[in-house]
Structures are given as C-alpha cells and as structure tokens.
Subunit: 295 residues, 2 copies
C-alpha cells in the first residue's frame, strides 16, 4: 500500500470549532488524521494526515473547502508569518511513492483548488517550477498584506489561479518535500556554550550538514543543555551521522551525550537506515522486514 503524508499549516490556532471542522473534513475524505497541533500565539495549526495517495488528495481538497469557508485573514493576527488561510501544504513520500508522485499530487491539488476557489497558488520545494520558488520564506515574504503588490510583479505570477489575492484567503503555497524529523540530543552538562558551539558546527547555515537546522538551548529544570534540531532530509543527512558527529564534538569539550529524542513522528526508514549503518548490514532490503511483506 503506497503512503503519502500531508502536513498542512492552517492560519487558525484559537477557534476550536474551526479546527474540529477541518479535522472532520480531513478524516471524512479518507486519510488518517494523525496529529493536530494548534498554537494560539502563532494563531496557526499544523495538521498531520496520511494514507493512500487518492485519499490524501481528497482530504487535502476537503480541507481547503472547509478552511476557506471559515477563515478570514483580514482579521487575522499572529506571531507566525502567513500568506493564506491554508498557508502551506507539503506532500511527503513515505512508502511505495516517489518524490515525483508527490510533485504530481502537489500540482494536481494546486490546479484544482485554484480553479474551485479562484485562489492564487505557488508551488514550492521539490514542486517548484523555478529555483527562486523552492524556498518557502521567499514566497511568503510580504505576507498576506503584501500579496496585492507581490502578485503584480511578473516574477511572482502564481503557478495556478489569478494574479490577485483571494479576498479572505490570500494565496496558498503547495509543494512536495522529504519528511522532516525533529531530533534533539541532550548533553550531560549545564554548559549552554557547548550546546551552542555544537549546533553551530553541525548546521548548514554556519558550515555544517546541508539538511540540518540546529540551535543550542537550556533545559533549566533538568540542569542540562540540548542540541535541538530539524533534519530536513534524513536520506541525505541521516540521523546516525548527525548523532555521531554531535557525540564527537561533545567529547572535544569533555562532555558526554546523555540521550537523544525524536519529537513526534518518524518514518520507519530513518530508523531502519540507522540500524543498518551501525550493524554494518550489507545487502539488506526493506522487504526483509516481515511487517512490510504484509502491507
């Protein structure tokens, strides 16, 4: 059974009735709703759902239908930047599905919602038509309020839909990307400078691994520090490599790794790849995993 994950970010983090309606819409259209994370300060909610491609596509369309009827960005204020009522919709290949399949889904859903709702749609990350649109932050710059001016610029003509914002829903950014893993490593020390130095050493922005975002933070209640990370492409920058270099960098400061933690969901392949690397498994195939044979 092929599996796609979808993690839409919706610009509503306070009205439970709206969030319930969105959740019901997702479930009703066939995908499995795995998680709902509202944030009142950001006035924004992250939904996570997954299932077979056809079900995920139907659920994404149902979410647009429901959210656009209930969210009015003209009255929306939160701490998180946003361009639209359904702000960002990434499709993620999990199993038996290629990135190209997810790019195709993003295009289909984008064309469909643009037509149904007269909504400008930008395609981002792997689904981007040009390199300048890969990065979500670049597309979102100017936010909802800046959309009328932005859409008039030829280089920001939308990929689908009109070159004018939807009056209440702005525009949406739809795309495809690899699964993201929220991964933290705790150090057996209270020295925040060590966590910050390690974070700087491993993150892309300061010369580290390409698909790592990292910062050093204090866990004051436990008297320890943490290297808090997002792994944005676990196939190209895998968990085991990040863990091993963090351990080595800590050692250089006379510090030990206490433990690590995965926050939220992780694709099985990220763990399997780690087991295979540490155990030096040669010629291992995923269909040797008994459970995979029963899908």
């Amino acid at each position: 059974m092929p599996i796609v994950e979808c993690i839409p970010n919706v610009s509503e983090g306070r009205d439970q009735a709206v969030l319930d309606a969105c959740g019901d819409a997702i479930r009703g259209a066939g995908a499995r709703l795995l998680d709902v994370k509202p944030d009142a300060t950001h006035h924004r909610t992250v939904f996570t759902f997954a299932g077979e491609p056809a079900a995920v596509k139907a659920s994404a369309l149902a979410l647009f239908e429901t959210a656009l009827a209930r969210i009015d960005l003209r009255h929306h204020k939160g701490e998180h930047p946003r361009l639209g009522a359904v702000d960002v919709v990434p499709f993620v290949p999990i199993e038996g599905v290629t990135m190209a399949d997810c790019v195709a889904m993003a295009r289909e859903v984008g064309a469909d919602v643009a037509r149904r709702h007269n909504l400008p749609v930008f395609l981002y990350e792997e689904a981007a038509a040009v390199p300048a649109r890969r990065n979500l932050e670049d597309i979102r710059r100017g936010e909802f309020e800046g959309l009328p001016a932005k859409l008039k610029q030829p280089e920001w003509a939308p990929d689908f839909g009109p070159a004018a914002p939807h009056p209440t829903a702005g525009a949406s950014v739809i795309g495809a990307r690899v699964a993201l893993i929220a991964y933290n490593i705790n150090l057996a020390t209270n020295r925040l400078d060590v966590a910050k130095k390690i974070a700087a050493a491993i993150r892309q922005s300061s010369g580290g691994f390409r698909y790592v975002k990292a910062m050093g933070i204090e866990l004051a209640d436990r008297g320890i520090v943490q290297v808090s990370m997002n792994l944005t492409n676990f196939e190209k920058t895998p968990m085991f490599r990040v863990f091993e270099i963090v351990k080595r960098e800590a050692e250089r400061h006379g510090v030990s790794v206490l433990e690590s933690e995965i926050v939220g969901l992780v694709p099985a392949a990220a763990l399997t790849a780690s087991a295979a690397w540490y155990l030096q498994l040669e010629g291992f195939k995923d269909d040797q995993i008994l459970e995979n044979r029963l899908r």
Copy 2:
C-alpha cells in the same frame, strides 16, 4: 492489525506438486504465504506465512488437511530428523499479539488437528505444559520410527490425541516461540580459528549469550570467515549487543568486522530496537513510527 507468523516444517522436500498443494492450502485459507524453502537432501520444506490470528489459524488447519492426505512417512527418508508429516508448527507473535495469545493458538490448533485426524500432538517451547517438553529435540528423539514405543511411556503421553501414532503422519509438535533471526557477521580475515573462537565466546552452549547459537565457518570463495548465528530471542539477546561483542572480540585478535547480514525475514522491532540503542533514544514509542499509525 495484530499479526502472527507461523513457520511449519513439513516432511516433503522433493515433490513439487505436494508443495504447491500445501502452499495453495495456506493461501486459500487467508494467511499471506511469505516464503517456501524446500530442501531435497533433508526431504523437508519450511513454509513461512503470516497474517491476522484467525487467518493464520485457518491456514495452519488447511495445511494439516492437505499435507496429511499426501505425505506418507512410511516411505520417507531424509537427513533431517522428523516425527511427523507436518513435523513442527511454531506460532510467533509479531505485532499486537502476546506470547500468551500464541500459546492459546497452539493449543487450539493442536486440539483441533488431533481430533480431526486422530493424530498425537505434543506442545513445545512456550506452549509446553511441562518443562521436559520445551525442547523440540527431546520430543523428536526416536523419530517417526520410534513413536509406537515412545508414546507408550507415561511421560510421553501426547498433549492431545491418541497414545498411538497416526499410521502415515506420525505425530506433530506444535508450539509458540519468539521470532528467530538468522544473523551472520563477516570478518575481514581468512583466519577460521578467529571465527570459531568468537562463535564459542558468544554462544549459550559454551558460556555466551543465552539466546545465541553460533558457529565459525569459511566463505572460501571470498577468502573470508563468518560468525554464523541464530538469535533465538532478539528481545532478550538483541542484535546490537551481539554485534558489539563480536566486534570487540574480533578486535582482540587484530581483526575487523567487514559487514553483517540478515538472512531472510526480520521483525521490524529488532531493527528499531537497534536504532534506539545506538542513537541513545529515550522515551521512544513505537507509535511514533508513522507507518505504525496507519495500520
């Protein structure tokens, strides 16, 4: 979805028509047939199938029906010891099923085939009623030919069925056990003595880990040696611990581990546990694996 695996050993390794009939019987009754491994020298075939408990039970019963009608042990000669036409039938908990559930399945199937076919049945391993019947080799000692005498001894009265052998099918041994992993570690040396010493150090029979069977063998075509193992309880003697001690023992002889390999199927939990151990994951729960949430 709860999953049980069943790995019956049938005393026929040469007649493809009989093996096909057995495979069809398994599939037809609802379980998924994952593997068929005939061995002409042993005159014996190992079937592997899995699925929901009810389907696995039905498939096991169907296999007895088909195999008992086609196999006559009075004319059977092979290198592998055997007691019956359907010689050994273990049920293995894979997911969402306890060992107690598998013991119950073994008892139900045992009672059922004893009644339907007038067949003596012994329960073994986790399903054994007394410690003396845990070990398959003890039950099988004397083989098909010794059954009439063995069954007359009070301590070898069958758990189900008559105290006399089935004329053509002998008796069957049915039980429950944890999944077995066939796991090999290749060393970057041609020194067979090193592989043999490591095997002796880690196996239960000579003082090593309780759930490890191991021997040192030569891979002559590659000019290397191998520690060839069966891990008979990966929860209590896990892969990562075995791998690490083999690596350390090799090091003591100035030898490196070249690679390891899993032969055949492995439960996902064995790999997940290895990843969690190496990555020092704390508080990790199996329902954080995205695919598990979709079952």
